[in-house]
Every structure is written in structure tokens, then in C-alpha cells.
């Protein structure tokens, strides 16, 4: 359609997955009520999970998952070379996600635990940005389809892509939730980037920080608050480590 004198063109998009649960890709097929409109915004060039058609020309590559094997590095580099824009799609891609929990242990021990010594290749989980340049990150475990829709619309309309800068508490309060700290639990809402509409606290469970840190968070104040409320620091650390979004702050803290 011609708007303001220019045409809004569908994005040539491709979706790839690496080490992950593929839940983020699955979100692309969710929000069924707007799915036809959403699909009209994109020209799907490559999306193995739902289509057997494969084309190598695409402008935007959505890359889901983290990197844990050498063949994945090569595949990722090829994608980077082909894509005009590479989007780290979901928490695993942006921060390493739950896969990173295995980085705490020697990889041999990890393999022994699951595969009984069979020769299985794996390496510490890496985020997409550790290997190639990432143009945008869309965090979330899983990503929020609403946010993805908004971002795709921004790209189609040639607008800058932005994420909320403020923490989850803003959205949580707007949903009139009872704060989990008032119920005696540690919630990462005060330090985590909003955009998920505070789904976890709304379901009465603590935010585990899947969207990574909000802009310029006050981490010392957050740790102090956990201490002041006499909540468990170990619990706080377990939560901060869950999605690997707070690595830098955890180091600072200990």
C-alpha cells in the first residue's frame, strides 16, 4: 500500500533454529486471529519448521536458539553472510537462555551425566551475538507474539525498532497485581526489561528475568532490597542465573 508516498513492502524473512526448544518460532504461528494479516507482512523464504520450501535470498534472518556445537557456528556464519539484517530471536539467542546453565559444569561431566560416556559433541552454550554481529534482539522465553508483530510492523514501515526501556514492575502494576515481594517471594521484575505485559507476576509466579536487564538498572539497590526483606540470596542468584541475562551483575554481586 502507498502511504506517505512510499510503498510498504513485505519483508523477505527466514527463520532458523539452533539449540533450543523452538518455542519462539512457534509463537509466529500463534495469535491466530491476526495470523493472516501477519503473514501478509512477511514473505517467508525459509522456515523449516512449517515449510519445505527453502530459498537463500532473504533480508531478515530470525535466529532462534543458542550455539552449542561447531557445525552450528558455520551454519550461523552462512546465515549472517546472506542476511541483510540478523535478529536474535528469543532469550536463548539473546542471552544463551536456560542452555547456559550447563556452562557451570565441565562439559565432559555434562555429557557423562546424560549420555553415559558416549562421544557426543557439545561446547559451552553461546549467544548468537558471541559469534556474529546481531542487528536486533527480541528477548523473551518465549518471545511475545504481540511484540514480534509490533517489531515486524516497524520494520515494514521503516521505523526504528525499540523495546521498552523500563522494568516489568510498570506493567505488573498496571495489571493491578499483588507484588510478589508482598507475598514473600523474590521477583526479578524490578530489574527486568518490560514488554511481556508482566505475564509471570500476573500468573502469581516470580519473574525470572527472561527478557534480560532493563536499561540502566540499579542492581545494588535490588540486591539490598532482597537482603532488607530477609529473603534468600541463594534464591535470588538462582533466579538471576536462570536465563543467563544477568551474568555481569551476578559477578559484580559475588
Amino acid at each position: 500500500m502507498n502511504h506517505l508516498g512510499f510503498e510498504l513492502q513485505p519483508l523477505k524473512i527466514a527463520s532458523f533454529d539452533f539449540t533450543c526448544c523452538e518455542g519462539c518460532q512457534l509463537q509466529l504461528a500463534n495469535r491466530e486471529s491476526t495470523l493472516p494479516e501477519f503473514l501478509a507482512l512477511v514473505d517467508i523464504r525459509n522456515f523449516r519448521e512449517i515449510s519445505s520450501e527453502r530459498h537463500d535470498d532473504y533480508d531478515i534472518a530470525l535466529v532462534e536458539g543458542s550455539i552449542t556445537r561447531s557445525d552450528e557456528i558455520e551454519r550461523l556464519k552462512t546465515i549472517r553472510a546472506r542476511a541483510k539484517m540478523l535478529v536474535a530471536f528469543g532469550t536463548c539467542a539473546c542471552f544463551g537462555g536456560v542452555n547456559s546453565l550447563k556452562n557451570r559444569m565441565p562439559q565432559e561431566a555434562v555429557i557423562r551425566e546424560v549420555y553415559d560416556g558416549k562421544a557426543i559433541e557439545t561446547m559451552p552454550s553461546m549467544r548468537i551475538g558471541d559469534i556474529v554481529e546481531v542487528d536486533y534482539g527480541i528477548p523473551g522465553c518465549p518471545v511475545s507474539k504481540e511484540e514480534v508483530e509490533r517489531i515486524v510492523v516497524s520494520l515494514v514501515s521503516r521505523s526504528p525498532v525499540t523495546l521498552p526501556t523500563y522494568p516489568v514492575c510498570v506493567e505488573c502494576k498496571q495489571r493491578l497485581n499483588t507484588c510478589l515481594f508482598d507475598l514473600g517471594e523474590i521477583c526479578l521484575g524490578p530489574v527486568t526489561r518490560a514488554g511481556c505485559d508482566a505475564v509471570c507476576p500476573t500468573g502469581n509466579t516470580a519473574c525470572l528475568g527472561c527478557r534480560g536487564p532493563a536499561e540502566e538498572i540499579n542492581f545494588p539497590a535490588f540486591a539490598q532490597l532482597v537482603r532488607d526483606k530477609e529473603l534468600s540470596m541463594a534464591d535470588m542468584r538462582e533466579k538471576l542465573a536462570f536465563y543467563n541475562g544477568f551474568g555481569d551483575y551476578l559477578e559484580e554481586e559475588t
Binding site: D17, G23, Q27, L39, F47, T122, V199, T202, T205
Partner: protein, 426 residues
């Protein structure tokens, strides 16, 4: 004179399945030389990373094993841990969980039937062209999928990776308003299911039979969902805790996912297995739908798994409406039992959309997990897929099919199992 056939089929990263798997078939001189199903997914080592984690956080971790059946994983862990630590959740919470399972299965079946399987039968590369050619069918499919997602969202807070399924019950009950909305939504979407059934009855399901053993849960009173005895069509009945003898996992060289077996060379789990073992517990409407397809227990044609899924959708719609009614009468405040962490070990078995799923977890006094074992439905199907491929390729050759036809049949076969590969390599 007939020419001797020579060909290799090497399908790397089979599309339209969840995760990464390869099909390899080679034919030499018209004879089948190799037929393999190899899973090449990168493993994620969940059993290792869950160690040391607090029990109450575990369901949130294990749900990340799979993006499609996250509710099943979450509930398998919850069941294992609740049994290990002797926690009895309130009745309302159990009902909410059952409803959540229905939502997930409906969503998963709809996704499989419309997005993954249907294109095969219509010779399309994906569901996208079908949206143009059969818009009303796709609309019906989307309506069912949306309903599945809505049930999951209302019951667990989010359709993928549930937020309110917790040890001891659920952390938040759906509001009455949402339940009432769900009720109308279910009623409104029954016609979509009818339309879907009509559509699938026009498709030709390939004829192929390889006798195998079907495994599922059975609890005697209701179509299986969460917990129960482990049973097989060969007459095996075992306790939930005895899951290891129901799986007998072993490693094969060409696959990162393990293989399993019970009494035979291989066994199968999933919608068809549940159907074969629990036909009598299906809602009459579901049974009628099965009859319309000529599906009756015990069916050994793996392609009929698609139909079994459709039959289950009928059952789910009826049962979900009943569960919603039950919740509307229930005490929505009594949803969570407090508990103290304690040492123990137990198994949680649930019927995920693709079949029986086991989590076995062991905790210490502080409620930290010390040992974990997860056996995934697709793992239990891998061996069956592998041997089915072999038999199907043989049959295709015997019927004089060419390379393209053989490849197509094999692909449809694998997809009929609706494999969830990333899940199987967790």
C-alpha cells in the same frame, strides 16, 4: 523388461517437523540396502542442568525442553516432585491441570494436522498456499488451534511455557469471567471441528501395516492424561514407577536421541497408542468420528495416527467443556497446598500430545534435585519410525514405486508420528 532401481534418498533436516532429523534410504539393484531415521539435534543436557536446582523452579526449567508440549513437561516434573515430596494438590488445581493438558493437546494436534501434515496430502510445500486454496479449512484449523491456545492461556497464564503451574497446585486460578468465555468459545468452535473432520475424510491415507506394540497410560476411569498405569497392546501392565522397564533406553550410533523397546523390537506411543489402549474411554462423539474413518483398535497403520489425533480433538472438545463446568462450580480459592521440601524420588508420567512422557526426579532434604531422567515420547517412537521406514521402503519397492514416490511416502510416514525432535534430544 524392468530396469533394476538404484537410488539414494538423503533428507537432511526434514522440514515441517519440530527439530532436526534425517531420513536416509538407499536402494541398490532394486533391493533396499539401508533405511535409517537419524536424529541429529543438538543435545541440551537438561538432565544435567536440572541438578542442584530448587524443586519449585524445576517445572519452569523442564517446560523449556519443548516449545510445543511445555505444559506436559511442566506437569510431568510437577507430578514427579509432588509424588517424591508427598504433596497433595487441591482438587480444583488438578482439574485446572487436566484442562491445561487438553488445551495443549488441541493446539498441538491442530498445528500438526493443518500446518505439518495437511500440506503432504495436498501436495503443497506448506500451509501458506493452502490458505489461498482452501481458506475455509485453514480458518477452521486456526480456530481450533486458537481455542487450544486459549485454554492453555486461561489455565496456565500463557500458551507456551506455562507460568502458573507450580508444585502444590496452581499459583492462580482462572477467573469466572474467563471460564465463561472459554465455555462459549468451545461451543462456538464445534462446527470448525466438524468441518475439519469432513475435510480429512476426503484425504487418502496410505495403506501400510507393520505390527508393533502400542504403549500408553491407562487409569481405568478416564481417557489418560496425567498419571496412571503403563500399559501396552501386548498386554503389559506396569506401575508408573516401573517406567524404566517400559522403555529400556539404548543408544544407537547414528542418532543423538536414544531408542526404546518393550517386548518387541520397537514400540510406539502417541495418539494412536492412546486410542488403541483406551478406546472405550473416549467420548461417544469421538468414537463416532473414529468409526467414520474406519479406525478401530488395535490399528497398526502408523499413518492413521493423524486420524487418531483428530479423534482425540473430538474427545477434548467434549471433555474440556465438562471440565470448565466443573471449575465453574469449584472453589477457585483453594488451589495451592503449602509444602516443605524433603528428600524423595518418584516418576511423573503424563500423556503429552505425542505420547507418554516420563520425568523421574530425585530430591534431597532441601528440595534440590539430585538426579533427573526424562524420557520423551519421540524417543519412544524413534525405533518404531526407524523400522517402519525399512518396512515401508520394502513395500514401496515391491509395489514398484519410483524414487520420488518412495521418498514422499517415507516423509509422510515420519510426519505422521508428529515427531518432536528437539524434545527427544533434551
Amino acid at each position: 523388461m524392468k530396469r533394476k532401481l538404484d537410488f539414494d534418498i538423503d533428507l537432511h533436516h526434514l522440514p515441517r517437523v519440530e527439530g532436526h532429523g534425517n531420513i536416509r534410504i538407499s536402494v541398490r539393484d532394486g533391493r533396499l540396502a539401508e533405511a535409517t531415521w537419524a536424529v541429529v539435534e543438538t543435545p541440551r543436557f537438561f538432565e544435567a542442568i536440572v541438578k542442584g536446582m530448587s524443586a519449585e523452579r524445576v517445572p519452569f526449567l523442564t517446560s523449556r525442553i519443548c516449545g510445543i508440549c511445555s505444559i506436559s513437561h511442566s506437569l510431568a516434573s510437577i507430578r514427579a516432585l509432588e509424588r517424591a515430596m508427598e504433596i497433595t494438590p487441591p482438587e480444583t488445581a488438578l482439574t485446572i491441570r487436566l484442562l491445561a493438558m487438553h488445551g495443549e493437546t488441541l493446539q498441538s494436534h491442530a498445528l500438526h494436522l493443518f500446518f505439518l501434515a495437511a500440506p503432504d496430502f495436498l501436495d503443497a510445500p506448506s500451509a501458506l498456499p493452502i490458505m489461498q486454496s482452501h481458506p475455509e479449512i485453514v480458518r477452521a484449523g486456526l480456530q481450533l488451534k486458537e481455542l487450544g491456545n486459549e485454554i492453555s492461556t486461561v489455565t496456565t497464564g500463557r500458551c507456551t511455557h506455562p507460568v502458573s503451574l507450580v508444585l502444590g497446585g496452581v499459583s492462580k486460578a482462572p477467573s469466572r469471567e474467563l471460564l465463561l468465555r472459554l465455555k462459549t468459545m468451545i461451543a462456538e468452535r464445534l462446527p470448525a471441528l466438524e468441518r475439519t473432520t469432513e475435510f480429512f475424510s476426503t484425504l487418502t491415507i496410505p495403506q501400510f501395516v507393520r505390527e508393533t506394540e502400542f504403549i500408553s497410560l491407562r487409569n481405568g476411569s478416564a481417557y489418560p492424561s496425567i498419571g496412571g498405569d503403563l500399559v501396552s497392546t501386548d498386554g503389559v501392565v506396569r506401575d508408573e514407577e516401573d517406567y524404566l522397564r517400559m522403555t529400556n533406553e539404548y543408544l544407537v550410533a547414528f542418532s543423538t536421541s536414544k531408542f526404546t523397546k518393550v517386548t518387541r523390537q520397537s514400540s510406539a506411543a502417541g495418539a494412536l497408542a492412546r486410542f488403541n489402549n483406551n478406546f472405550g474411554l473416549l467420548h461417544p462423539r469421538a468414537r463416532a468420528a473414529a468409526a467414520a474413518f474406519g479406525l478401530e483398535p488395535v490399528c497398526h497403520n502408523p499413518f492413521m495416527n493423524n486420524v487418531a489425533q483428530l479423534v482425540e480433538c473430538h474427545h477434548i472438545m467434549e471433555d474440556a467443556a465438562m471440565l470448565v463446568d466443573r471449575l465453574l462450580d469449584a472453589d477457585l480459592l483453594d488451589i495451592r497446598t503449602a509444602f516443605k521440601p524433603k528428600a524423595g524420588s518418584a516418576t511423573g508420567a503424563v500423556e503429552a500430545p505425542r505420547g507418554i512422557l516420563y520425568h523421574h526426579l530425585e530430591t534431597d532434604d532441601e528440595g534440590k534435585v539430585v538426579k533427573a531422567d526424562c524420557i520423551i515420547p519421540t524417543t519412544q517412537n524413534n525405533a518404531n519410525i526407524h523400522y517402519d521406514l525399512h518396512a515401508l521402503a520394502e513395500q514401496a519397492l515391491a509395489e514398484g514405486r519410483n524414487e520420488a514416490e518412495t521418498e514422499k511416502l517415507c516423509v509422510i510416514l515420519v510426519r505422521s508420528y508428529d515427531p518432536c525432535i528437539s524434545c527427544s534430544v533434551h
